[in-house]
Amino acid sequence: MASRHPIEAPETRQSLLARLKGVSVQPEAWQRFLEIYTPPILSWCRSYGLQEADARDVTQEVLLRISRYLPQFDYDPTRCFRGWLRTIVHRSWCDWMECGGAGQVGTGDTRVLQLLRGLPARDDLLARLEQQYDRELLQLAMDRVRERVEPQTWRVFELLALQQVAGIEAARHTGMKVASAFAARSKVQRMVRDELSRLRDENRVGT
């Protein structure tokens, strides 16, 4: 489900965060954003030892702030997209931390909450969200490329590059010659890399 957005074809789909940059945001984009970016925030909470109910509270608080700060920060096309993301997350986190939003958590272990308010925790959160963004971009690039190649070619690429299967096995599995299998992988790789850098450029310049 996650790799195929039902409504838009990959060719026209932008990365979610890109679509959230503007002042007015489509509800579907926001929903999608929540679907994708909630789990990393939940894991962030859990990794610090929060119980599930408290993790959800904290996640909700953080997301609330993100939703408030998103439209405030005008996207500066001369700066890197990642920087924009960092600013949003940093402000949201600061806000959550400073407002004693954590104080409202009922059974929150105070020690854990203290940890979450530390700078390493913020950096950890940022890193997770950035990684999610990178993954999303990569997935988008791969989805776009997948549309453009034969299913066989794609499968061979998957087996070789993503699953690290041995050449001869992948070749057998797809009925190709070994050399052709490698060549197919090489071709798809190049396409994905190109697509990825194109996506990054789009996001740099701003839409």
């Binding site: 939703s67 405030q72 990569l138 690290q164 010659k177 070994v178 050399a179 090489s186």
Partner: protein
């Protein structure tokens, strides 16, 4: 088709062109065919393709879509969508926090400006017009417990008692609208934390600040107070004595934030259990609550704090860093940090020694007073020898030697020949070393030479150790990436083991210096061997740890390594079917030790006990299993109040209880419930209640649990506080997949027995796996089942067995890491390929069968390779390719029983050939 022998392997450039399809067609076709048969070129092409794929490793995920949120999470996300409004217009004033804070109105102070919020309260800068000065106002975070008021009082009282140039002064306290506040000196220079963020400090500055804080602590401790929250954020930097914001004077360090300080002697109602709230980065081990040997939190904790702050000021990083705070906590509690000299080579050794002495795990080994520390720091600043003792005599003299270069050179000249002797004799063992020492003792500078010799010897040993370490790390990567075939893996393991054996023969030379690293590495190696199926080797290598463990000075590390080794040995002995030995080992583990045991260790032991009990049960030794379970349940660290509060311990308890119920004599209807059964029901309920919102996975065996619950409900209506359906529902909710899987498996076995066209029967399997890609256990069972079915139904008439085998192969190939490349996954894959080969043979497709067998060989564990070789040889003979058959026969390892069988086969076939007319 040309074999690899006839066409020479192409050069790399040409191979790259082949990869990118820029060769002209005839040449390309030739090379394609060559590559088809040539393993060497295949791996070269693979490497070339891999190089082109230049993404960062974190993005190289296995081909799985992002984890589907489970139902609960999906519900949560829906809730979020409903409750969080879609981002739209910007807020009015971006600077306002949400909800906007109302600045307190405190009479006598104005121009309040929020400068920070911490765990204890808000801090404002304010102007006090009455006295014409800036002050810092510290208030409570709203909504805190009334306890806090008492704390603020206490902080004020404590600070009031302390007047020291390096402690932030308190001017007074007051109350506004029922909320107390503190009025303190305003320090303009920011905190040390802010300064560190810009980079490490010059060494002398860092040491000076540390000395200032240490001298402040002298007073604090003398007043009977322990600060408990030493960290760079709590060390403020004051630009001048008068506190003016434009002061240009040298910065001086001022200690602040006594909110969690405590007085051990005062009669306090406030909680002082030693479980300190704070960031773990600068916490002393005894403060974490996780130290294996708990010690009281005393002034030594503050000494540690100064050491940690100094460490951070010097290197820009805290003593321990890890990915999550929980990991940091663990590190702090169990390890000593690396020397700061590692991160900043220009840090003099003496300073490293001072810092090391602050950061010892055992509080008794640190500086025993802040004054002592301050004085040693002062000595360092003045260039005098310090008092702290580093590890070896040799090092200290070396240091002294470094400070008096002329003396050393003279000494070196005097000992010219002595040094030479020392150096050459290094290679020749300890006896000679003693001779050297004797020779060298004859001069005044005797000690220096020994120090030099010792140092070189130590370095030589250390570099040998580094070689092994690199070897093990490299082996780890290679084993885990799954690219080696069985024979190569074995060879690799044997090489590493040989090196380890050699090193361990010279056990005396493993000094206490790097014994901890060595022990960790050895333990890691044994774990790796276990994971990759080298069970006897893992057992042997794990036992070698015994030679190294006694050299560990750190008791807690020794204990945790011993535990890891022992639990692993129980598992290994089970695997090797030495059940009695395993039981013995486990019995030793269940003996309560003298030292307190950490949670994670208790769980490891309980886990080992559960698993072994299951093995015993499955082997038919139910009585023994029952006795073991009862014993594990009765141990002191399981019972008592503590255990029921801890969710993980409760789970462990529950598992053992379930096992017990499973093993105990069957319920006799009509008899009253036993105490055990009641107990069990209560625990079950408690765990289920707490689990309701949790995503912690219960490792219950749900099917058995459900069966047992059914029985209980039928025969013990008195116990049924939930109805039978409720229980089932709970188990379904926790593990609904298993029931679906069970049903599927039963259906599959039934269906396939009946029909010749299996495809409709296989469809539900595909669907199930698509819907539950993460369920590796079911996947494995299904694959196993399919392989067995394929093996039993191989006939020329139908393609049933081929379909089954192929589906089994698919199941493994589409599975996630790390199962797919684990020993288990690969052995299933090997079986599946083998089944495919049989199916193909019965259909007459011999060449394809041959390929399948080769693939099976590449994944197969050692024990099964013999049979595969045999089949391959048979196949080649059937194909009339004797040369290949012999080549394959040559690949069989010597010890394999198959070797004989194959030889015989070859003999028979050749005699058959020569005897035919």
């Amino acid at each position: 088709m040309t074999g690899p022998g006839s066409l020479p392997c192409p050069a790399t450039d040409e191979l790259r062109q082949l990869l990118q399809r820029t060769l002209e067609p005839t040449r390309r076709e030739l090379l394609d065919d060559h590559v088809e048969e040539c393993g060497f070129c295949q791996s070269r092409m693979d490497a070339l393709a891999q190089d082109e794929w230049q993404l960062p490793p974190t993005l190289l995920l296995p081909a799985q879509p992002p984890r589907q949120p489970d139902d609960d999470e999906a519900d949560f996300i829906r809730h979020l969508v409903r409750s969080i409004p879609v981002p739209s217009e910007p807020c009015d004033s971006p600077a306002d926090p949400v909800p906007p804070t109302v600045l307190p109105c405190i009479p006598g102070f104005d121009r309040l400006e929020l400068v920070g919020r911490g765990g204890s309260g808000e801090v404002y800068r304010a102007w006090q017009p009455g006295l014409g000065r800036w002050v810092a106002l510290k208030t409570l975070v709203p909504n805190r417990s009334p306890d806090r008021a008492a704390r603020v009082n206490r902080e004020a009282r404590l600070l009031g008692r302390l007047t020291h140039p390096h402690i932030v002064r308190i001017h007074g306290m007051g109350e506004v609208e029922g909320q107390p506040y503190l009025v303190m000196e305003w320090i303009a220079g920011g905190s040390l934390q802010d300064r560190i963020r810009r980079g490490p400090l010059p060494i002398n500055d860092a040491v000076r600040f540390a000395r200032e804080i240490a001298s402040a602590l002298e007073l604090v401790h003398a007043a009977g107070i322990i600060h408990r929250d030493l960290k760079p954020a709590n060390v403020l930097l004051d630009p001048s004595i008068s506190g003016e914001t434009d002061g240009d004077g040298p910065l001086i360090a001022r200690l602040t934030d006594f909110s969690i300080a405590f007085e051990p002697d005062a009669n306090e109602r406030l909680s002082q259990t030693g479980m300190v709230i704070g960031t773990p980065d600068y916490m002393a081990p005894e403060q974490t609550g996780l130290a294996p040997q708990p010690a009281a939190v005393g002034p030594a904790a503050d000494i540690y704090g100064v050491g940690a702050v100094l460490y951070a000021a010097l290197t820009g990083r805290p003593p321990h860093q890890a990915e999550t705070p929980v990991a940091v906590l663990n590190l702090v509690a169990t390890r000593e940090p690396d020397s700061p000299c590692m991160y900043r080579p220009e840090i003099p050794r003496d300073l490293g020694t001072i810092v090391g002495k602050c950061l010892r795990q055992d509080p008794a080994q640190r500086y025993q007073s802040a004054g002592e520390l301050a004085r040693d720091l002062e000595r360092f600043l003045q260039g005098r020898p310090i008092h702290a003792r580093p590890y070896t005599l040799g090092e200290r003299i070396w240091n002294w030697g470094q400070r008096r270069p002329i003396a050393t050179t003279v000494g070196a000249c005097l000992l010219g020949s002595g040094l030479y002797v020392a150096a050459t004799l290094l290679e020749q063992g300890r006896q000679r070393e003693q001779l050297v020492s004797q020779l060298v003792e004859q001069t005044d500078e005797a000690e220096k030479a020994t120090a030099i010799a010792e140092k070189s010897l130590a370095e030589a040993r250390y570099s040998r150790w580094q070689t092994i370490r690199q070897l093990i790390l490299k082996a780890t990567t290679q084993l885990q990436d799954g690219s080696l075939v069985a024979g190569q893996r074995r060879g690799l393991v044997e090489t590493v083991r040989r090196h380890l054996r050699n090193r361990l023969d010279d056990a005396d030379s493993i000094t206490t210096g790097f014994a901890p690293e060595f022990a960790e590495m050895l333990n890691h190696w044994a774990e790796l061997e276990e994971r990759h199926g080298f069970f006897p080797q893992a057992l042997e290598d794990g036992s070698r740890l015994d030679a190294v463990l006694p050299k560990l000075e750190d008791g807690s590390r020794r204990q945790s390594l011993t535990l890891s080794r022992n639990c692993r040995h129980v598992r290994l002995l089970d695997r090797l079917n030495r059940l009695d030995d395993a039981s013995q080992q486990l019995a030793a583990l269940l003996e309560p030790g003298e030292a307190a045991v950490a949670d994670v260790e208790v769980l490891a032991v309980l886990d080992a006990a559960s698993q072994h009990a299951r093995v015993l049960r499955d082997a038919g030794r139910k009585e023994q299993a029952l006795a073991l379970v009862r014993r594990a349940r009765g141990e002191w660290w399981l019972t008592g109040e503590q255990s029921t509060d801890n969710l993980l311990r409760s789970q462990a308890q529950l598992e053992l209880q379930l096992l017990e119920l499973d093993l105990a004599t069957p319920l006799v209807p009509g008899t009253p419930p036993s105490a055990d059964e009641e107990d069990w029901t209560k625990t079950l309920r408690r765990v289920f209640d707490r689990q309701r919102n949790s995503v912690l996975a219960l490792t219950l065996e749900p099917v058995r649990a459900a069966q047992r619950l059914d029985e209980l409900a039928r025969h013990r209506p008195q116990l049924a506080q939930f109805t039978r359906d409720n229980w089932r529902q709970e188990i379904h909710r926790l593990d609904p997949v298993t029931h679906a899987a069970e049903r599927l498996i039963q259906q599959l076995s039934f269906d396939s027995a009946a029909t010749t066209d299996v495809r409709p029967a296989l469809e539900p399997v595909r669907q199930f796996i698509d819907q539950h890609p993460d369920d590796l256990a079911t996947r494995q069972r299904l694959a196993g089942l399919l392989v067995r079915m394929a093996q039993s139904s191989a006939t020329p008439e139908t393609t049933a067995s081929l379909e089954q085998a192929r589906l089994a192969i698919d199941l493994v190939m589409t599975a996630h890491e790390p199962w797919r490349t684990s020993a288990e996954g690969r052995s299933v894959l090997a079986e599946a390929y083998r089944a495919e080969a049989s199916a193909l043979r019965s259909q007459g497709g011999l060449p394809a069968a041959r390929q399948s067998l080769e693939l099976a060989l590449s994944h197969s564990p050692d024990e099964q390779r013999g049979n595969l070789f045999l089949e391959l040889v048979q196949l080649h003979l059937a194909l009339g390719d004797r040369a290949q058959a012999e080549l394959i026969a040559a690949r069989i390892e010597d010890e394999s029983p198959a070797r004989e069988a194959v030889r015989r086969l070859l003999r028979e076939s050749s005699s058959h050939e020569t005897s035919s007319p």
